[in-house]
């Protein structure tokens, strides 16, 4: 297609040049013979000259038609500039040429008819070039935002106009009474077409002023051509008078009328264009606001946009925006107002009880409070950004004229704020759901880690029974327990709780178990273990995290156990000899709270206790004692103690079930807020065979 066009263009250009040259030769020969043969034309073939004429016009017009088709886009100023720079200047050239000729004639003081013909012929070429260029550029603009009717109307116009070339071809005089009414009708048709100037509405204020200059220059070109050719038509010596060509007249009528119409419409729409510009900018801003969710912009960026757009939309002279964080306003986006002025206005508003509400005052001067402040502003708009339950910001706009916030402006501003509210709300929802998704995934992994880390079975031995229970809450993960057989008669048992949740808790839990297995290989006392563990954790735990833990080393041969507590829940104990249930209330600081080894050492206590057969030890995490009833009461240490009092005579498994059932009764079904871990250890009587 492109190739075809290029070929066609080359062909048309060649035929245009050849026909023009032939026309020139014809004219010169004719003029020569006119001069020689006393007014009787020697080689007069009007048909030939008309044919060449038509061929030239058709070639140039078709060439421009193809050429203009390739122009795309809505750069209207670009079109106008194209028209002026490539064709409009032709008129000025033709004037220059004619003037040079006149000066030469005056200087030489002879009528030089042949030269006049050359000038006339060149000007004719320029005229056709100008008309064709203008004609098709105007077509491009006229058909902007076209509908089917307009397209058909234009196609007919082009066809009818082309038909008028037939008049020239057959040498009819278009001014005869037969054709005159038809031409008049064409004139009306042109007037109708010239009302299609939609593109002018899309010009901004600046572009309109530039287009006025260009259109003016093009109008002047039209005038120059018309004047030149009508002046020349009086010249007796002309061989061909181009004012006789009806096609050119109509084309000029169209080009001139359309240019004039565009000029006038641009001129008169100039005062209103800033309004339309504002409207379309408002629309764009609305769109940008709603798009910001998809583009993943932050709240701060949305507020930037809001403030910028509202200031432009209302033409405010001063403004500031309060972001509400933790119910405290923070001033951002300050425009032309200082801190003390903001403060005084805020005080006054508070005094009037106008606080974070939609408020418009178009006459601040009438208010005695504002008059006293002697501020330069006369109208104010307060626009809160809030949903039914959440206030996220308040926008303050000030103008230095009275009645600055008219109904229309306020409507636009309110649309902005409601759109912002929606955007902010949606942004929050999106980030929340993303967060939730990530959270769920994390917790799933954490739960898996927790489950895989806690031992499923304890060693069964003849000298003690142990029963374990562990349930992970949906939201919190971090309980752990483990054991290590130190020697044939000694076992180390650890229980603990890592603060925090999700991946990081699971990670620290695994770390803690590593520390347990690593350090206990060296068989150290529980207090020493806590010190070393604290030192190790200090290097890797984040500042807000800590771990509570208790470590027990039970020595069957010695019939006793040693333990140390690092911030973990107190150990519940039943002493069978004294038939008493109590807590070992020892001191001990959680791990990772003090990161100074020496200072930590002062906070850890070790205890040794001789056990009796039948004694029961209950160790657990805070998920048990802090379990809550639907009425928000805590299960508590006392109730746990009471349960052991009731059940100590049972086997370890049964004691555990009794306690867990009681806790579940207390909380109600599906009400586990925190991980619950419970270990029940019951010491058996000494076996005779060991």
């Amino acid at each position: 297609m492109q190739l075809y066009k290029n070929n066609a263009k080359t062909l048309l250009a060649t035929s245009a040049v050849i026909s023009w040259l032939l026309l020139l030769v014809y004219v010169l020969l004719n003029a020569e013979s006119k001069l020689a043969g006393a007014g009787v034309p020697g080689v007069a073939f009007p048909f030939l000259s008309n044919l060449l004429n038509v061929v030239f016009i058709v070639s140039v017009f078709l060439f421009q038609r193809l050429h203009t088709d390739m122009l795309k886009g809505i750069d209207f100023i670009g079109y106008l500039w194209n028209l002026f720079s490539k064709a409009g200047v032709a008129a000025y050239l033709s004037v220059a040429l004619y003037l040079v000729y006149r000066v030469y004639i005056n200087y030489a003081e002879v009528e030089y008819t042949l030269l006049l013909h050359v000038v006339y012929q060149i000007n004719f070429g320029l005229l056709v070039l100008f008309l064709s260029k203008a004609f098709y550029i105007w077509r491009q603009l006229l058909l902007y935002h076209k509908n089917k009717f307009l397209q058909i109307a234009w196609d007919w116009f082009e066809l009818l106009l082309a038909a008028t070339l037939l008049l020239t071809l057959f040498n009819f005089n278009y001014t005869s009474y037969v054709f005159l009414p038809l031409l008049a009708l064409m004139g009306f048709y042109i007037l109708f077409l010239c009302t299609n100037l939609k593109w002018v509405a899309y010009l901004t204020f600046n572009n309109k002023s530039r287009s006025l200059v260009l259109l003016g220059a093009i109008l002047l070109s039209c005038y120059i051509f018309v004047r030149f050719f009508y002046n020349m038509s009086d010249n007796e010596s002309l061989v061909i008078d181009y004012t006789d060509v009806g096609f050119l007249l109509l084309a000029m009528l169209f080009v001139g009328t359309y240019t004039l119409a565009a000029f006038l419409v641009s001129l008169f729409s100039l005062p209103t264009s800033s309004v339309f510009e504002q409207k379309s900018e408002d629309l764009l801003n609305f769109q940008r606001l709603s798009l910001s969710i998809q583009q993943g912009q932050s709240e701060a960026q949305v507020y930037d946009m809001l403030v910028e757009s509202t200031i432009k939309a209302s033409d405010a002279s001063a403004a500031w925006f309060d972001i509400i964080r933790n119910s405290d306003p923070q001033v951002t986006h300050v425009l032309n107002i200082n801190e003390s002025q903001i403060k005084s206005i805020r005080h006054l508003l508070q005094a009037y009880n106008i606080h974070n509400m939609d408020y418009i005052n178009n006459n601040l001067g009438r208010n005695p409070g504002f008059r006293e402040l002697t501020l330069p502003w006369k109208s104010m708009a307060i626009l809160p950004i809030k949903t039914s339950k959440h206030l996220s910001g308040v926008l303050y706009l000030l103008k230095d004229v009275e009645g600055g916030f008219d109904h229309e402006t306020v409507n636009v501003l309110r649309t902005f704020t409601s759109q912002t509210t929606l955007t902010i709300e949606n942004l929050r929802l999106v980030s929340e759901s993303l967060q939730n998704e990530r959270y769920k995934e994390e917790l799933k992994i954490a739960t898996q880690v927790q489950e895989s880390l806690n031992p499923k079975t304890f060693p069964t031995d003849s000298w003690f029974e142990i029963s374990t229970h562990s349930v992970a809450a949906k939201e919190v993960g971090g309980d752990f327990y483990d054991f290590l057989q130190l020697s044939e008669s000694r076992i180390a048992i650890i229980i603990g709780d890592v603060s925090g949740k999700g991946i990081s808790a699971a990670f620290h839990m695994a770390q803690m178990k590593g520390i347990f297995h690593g350090l206990m290989q060296q068989d150290m006392a529980p207090s020493e273990f806590m010190k070393q563990a604290n030192s190790a954790l200090s290097r890797c735990l984040e500042r807000t995290s800590f771990i509570t833990s208790s470590l027990y080393i039970i020595d069957y041969r010695m019939q006793g156990f040693m333990f140390a507590r690092a911030g973990h829940c107190h150990t519940l104990y039943y002493n069978s000899m004294m038939d008493d249930v109590f807590y070992f209330k020892t001191d001990g600081l959680g791990l990772g709270i003090i990161r100074d080894d020496k200072r930590y050492a002062a906070h850890i206590r070790e205890m040794y206790y001789d056990y009796n057969p039948g004694d029961v030890m209950v160790i657990y995490t805070d998920g048990i004692v802090e379990a809550r009833s639907p009425g928000n009461e805590e299960y508590g240490e006392d109730r746990l103690q009471y349960m052991l009092k009731q059940t100590y005579h049972l086997e370890a498994d049964d004691i555990k079930y009794a306690i867990i059932n009681d806790v579940n009764d207390f909380t109600g079904p599906d009400n586990v807020y925190d991980d619950q871990t419970l270990l029940v250890i019951k010491f058996r009587p000494i076996q005779q065979n060991t």
């Binding site: 500042r543 800590f546 509570t548 690092a566």
Partner: protein, 112 residues
């Protein structure tokens, strides 16, 4: 969770109201991280309406403890409910932090 701040001379009185759990501890952390606070020599925390504190909430206090100590800012808790105090005690924090019974006592200790 609601946190309110009141400033009296060189003392910040922070009142905690509600449950300090993982989500509300973020707000507490923001409040305590505020550089403004470092301008005052004493921070009194009124725990009268603090009904519950989770490990995340404790973590926030723990993380700021050292910073306050370094800046020689006194951090004093008062009016603490028994069950909340129990949590502090079990963890061993009562030996690191100053927890007193009422406002008067807090003022006296702060002015020492």
């Amino acid at each position: 969770m609601k946190i309110t701040q009141e400033i009296k001379e060189n003392t910040v009185i922070m009142t905690l109201d509600g449950e300090l759990d993982a989500s509300s501890s973020v707000i507490l952390d923001e409040e305590l991280s505020d550089p403004e606070i470092m301008k005052y020599a004493k921070v009194l925390v009124n725990c009268q309406d603090l009904n519950y504190i989770s490990s995340a909430g404790l973590g926030v206090f723990i993380s700021h403890l050292q910073r306050f100590e370094d800046a020689q800012i006194k951090l004093i808790f008062y009016n603490m409910q028994d069950k909340v105090r129990n949590v502090f005690e079990i963890l061993g924090l009562d030996l690191l932090m100053t927890i007193v019974s009422d406002y008067e006592e807090a003022r006296t200790i702060a002015n020492e």
